[in-house]
């Protein structure tokens, strides 16, 4: 079973990497870019039936640092009601 975890810096946390990429895009002539924030996509292949609470625990204990990052969890190809 595939699970995608998207880890993002919280609003207000400086993202110098995103800022540098923003500058680069502007330098390349792409107009109208208001902001760039860079996050991390983690793809997990887990045993069928692994529940949301377990993935949440993985996020809180290791995959994200909740001091600076938020996370969202997506069960790939699983119907909403089946979580």
């Amino acid at each position: 079973m595939q699970v995608r975890v998207l880890v993002r810096l919280k609003p207000g946390v400086l993202d110098p990497q995103g800022r540098a990429v923003h500058h680069a895009l502007e330098g390349m002539g792409f107009a109208g870019v208001e902001d760039v924030r860079i996050g991390r996509l983690i793809e997990l292949d887990v045993a069928d039936g692994t529940d949301y609470a377990t993935i949440t625990a993985m996020c809180e204990k290791l995959l994200a640092n909740t001091v600076i990052e938020s996370f969202s969890i997506e069960f790939v190809g699983v119907a909403e009601g089946a979580k």
Partner: protein, 229 residues
């Protein structure tokens, strides 16, 4: 008497030998060396030191993987018992990831790796690590890091300042750190994390190359705290 200190080595630590050397030079006793995969620490420790480096190649986040290693469970348990813990550079990052200290270390605001001697203002002289300094004194300690930009929410920063837990500040802006914080203490004052490297500023013979000996007093303070105990 000496100091019974343990230096933890993670895969990718590279200042562990410097830390052990500093401890031995100041205390006269060789530091014990502990591998990250060990489950237990030596007993009766006076100090645990987490050195600088790039543990686990900074995978995921600096210090994140090391914070989950077997020895860190023992370090957290020891810290909970009041055993002093010093984390320098990557060691500071590990301590925040292990939640022994508040906040987090982000990428330097200027994106660049910073490697130079930095002027620091001493903000606390009450702890076992900082008792040898004068309040408000400016000292010079080398910094060498990419992720040293200290972050915590405003409430946490106010609390750290209100409780006198900002051990060191950059005397001039260095890496974008909130309120120029370079080192913080735990609530009980027995865990110190700092980005600058005191272990690189201890040798009178190397002043010309390394910029001073102001780091020596940090180790002397630790030793003195046990001599007077």
């Amino acid at each position: 008497m000496g100091l019974r200190a343990a230096v933890i080595t993670f895969p990718g630590s590279n200042c562990d030998r410097d830390m052990a050397t500093a401890l031995e030079q100041v205390s006269g006793v060789p530091a014990l060396r502990v591998w990250h995969g060990d489950a237990d620490l030596p007993d009766r420790l006076d100090l645990i030191a987490l050195p600088g480096g790039f543990s686990y190649g900074d995978y995921l986040r600096s210090g994140a993987m090391a914070a989950t290693s077997p020895i860190m469970r023992a370090v957290i348990a020891a810290a909970d018992r009041g055993v002093p813990v010093l984390g320098v550079c990557n060691g500071f990052q590990v301590l925040t990831e292990a939640r022994l200290l508040p906040g987090a270390l982000l990428r330097n605001a200027g994106q660049r790796f910073i490697c130079r001697t930095a002027a620091l203002t001493v903000g606390n002289t009450d702890s076992l690590f900082t008792a040898g300094y004068q309040a408000g004194e400016t000292i010079r300690i080398p910094v060498a890091h990419h992720d040293g930009n200290y972050f915590a929410d405003a409430e946490t920063l106010d609390q750290l300042e209100g409780e006198g837990r900002v051990a060191f500040r950059y005397a001039e802006s260095c890496n974008g750190s909130a309120r120029d914080i370079a080192g913080v203490l735990s609530a009980n004052g027995r865990v110190l994390g700092m980005m600058p490297h005191p272990e690189r500023a201890i040798e009178p013979a190397a002043v010309a190359a390394l910029g001073g000996t102001d780091g020596r007093r940090l180790f002397e303070s630790i030793l003195a705290s046990f001599a007077s105990a």
